[in-house]
Amino acid sequence: MITLTALSKRFANGAAPAVDALSLDIGEGEICVLIGPSGCGKTTTMRMINRMVEPDSGTIVVGDRDVTRIDPVELRRSIGYVIQQVGLFPHMTIAENIATVPRLLGWDNAQIGKRVDELLERVHMDPARDRNRYPRELSGGQKQRVGVARALAADPPVMLMDEPFGALDPITRESLQDEFLRILHELRKTIVFVTHDIDEAIRMGTRIAIMRAGKLVQYDTPEVILARPADPFVESFVGADRALKRLSLLAVDGHANNEPPPADAPRIARSGNLRDALSSLLSVEASCGAVVDVNGAVTGTLTLDAIRGAFAVKAEARR
């Protein structure tokens, strides 16, 4: 869906290039997370896709169009754009904010009205209550929900998101990440997502592109990056606890057996991941836990050995 080929950018006051011959291929419906230390060029790369920054060399193809050949204004109207500070227009109502791109595209008022209400519901806000409110009346989390709704308004196939949840407190951030993943599941969008938070990257990304000093260091699924970091830099970047992070990608469901658990076993949610399960078991010094479903019914047992085994199997399968 999006193909970057040998993309480069050097800024006037920069000694080294901000982005250095970057090549990347993003499939339709994927979330590609760009991550790396400060100054690695991830935001610049993202901003070249909608030409908020003009590339020095290389090509960017979105869909089947070479982005550098299209009028930038028209291009941007077909790409959703969400930034960290949201940038809601303070002098417009929520409804007017969301309606921005549809209005630029000439939709009629009835269409726009319907779309605004639809989107407000999708981001779990109340159209009747919120459409005529102003940005200053909203909390940080609500502002970013509106930001996402605004970006989705004209139903663009591609969305660019620059640390969209970075300005929020950890609890709000996590709930918005979940909601956003759920929304994306229902729609089929191709997303380029910039973050500096490796946990967010692992959570959100179909594939993660780790960048450093303008170059692409490793581009793969979260599991592979955690299991086989390409070099010492990536290894230290993903953190010394990468094994535990890998466990967070594995579900309890696939590793529990059907046997009845011992009486004093701690309860472990079936829908949870192995890392949380491990944490529960360790905290009470148990060697196995009772797997329960949403209704509280016991469905099986999860043992420490099984957890260790899951890890090893995965590792084995890769070799």
Partner: protein, 214 residues
């Protein structure tokens, strides 16, 4: 004294109305021309940091110049009368409008402008739909300051033959006739308060709802 002043107006209606008319005309024209110069200039200057800084510095110096000095300096060059007074008053009116326009546009948060561009608004759209509406209250605050200054300055135009209500004041002082002096001083004070009130109301009305401090 007040009664005498009122009687004077009753017995010299044309003189009074003419002076009032000239005063309002001088003030309104100076303000309008100053706005037509300063607002576009401010919008252009706001885009370039160096230009903006130079403009603000120049405007600040302009604001410190004593009004009467500016009016007096114009006289040897342009002579006396309505037009030279208008030129001087326009010069005096420009700085507050210019500074406020620049501050207003620069004050629009960068993220808001970035989001607007990123969503596909043309530069013109961004200016007309985002930057100008958000900057409007601040620009009008500048117009308000200028308006009051101009009405006050127009009083001084009497010294260089510009006409206006200042004529009554200067005549009153010269002849030590207090009623005559009041015929000028009181109406012009009311005019000044009126202008302040008018622009204050406009400022409030034109502040977009989303920006009103609650």
């Amino acid at each position: 004294m007040l009664a005498d002043a009122w009687r004077y107006i009753e017995t010299h209606p044309t003189q009074f109305v003419t002076a009032l008319g000239v005063h309002v005309a001088l003030s309104a024209c100076a303000l309008a021309i100053a706005a037509l110069i300063a607002i576009p200039l401010g919008i252009v200057a706001a885009r370039r940091a160096g230009f903006a800084l130079a403009a603000i510095n120049a405007a600040n110096i302009g604001r410190t110049l004593p009004s009467l000095a500016v009016l007096a300096l114009v006289m040897p060059i342009l002579g006396t009368g309505f037009a030279p007074s208008l030129v001087a008053l326009t010069l005096l009116a420009v700085p507050p409008i210019l500074t406020n326009t620049i501050a207003g546009i620069i004050g629009v948060e960068r993220d808001v402008v970035d989001a607007a561009h990123g969503m596909g608004m043309t530069a013109r759209d961004v200016l007309h739909r985002i930057e100008i509406p958000i900057a409007t209250p601040i620009v009008f605050a500048g117009l308000r300051t200028s308006a009051v200054q101009v009405v006050s300055g127009a009083v001084l135009a009497a010294f260089i033959g510009g006409g206006g209500l200042g004529d009554f004041i200067t005549a009153g002082i010269a002849m030590m006739a207090v009623p005559l002096l009041l015929v000028g001083a009181i109406p012009v004070t009311l005019l000044s308060l009126g202008a302040d009130y008018l622009f204050g109301t406009l400022e409030r009305r034109l502040t977009p709802q989303g920006l009103r401090a609650e």
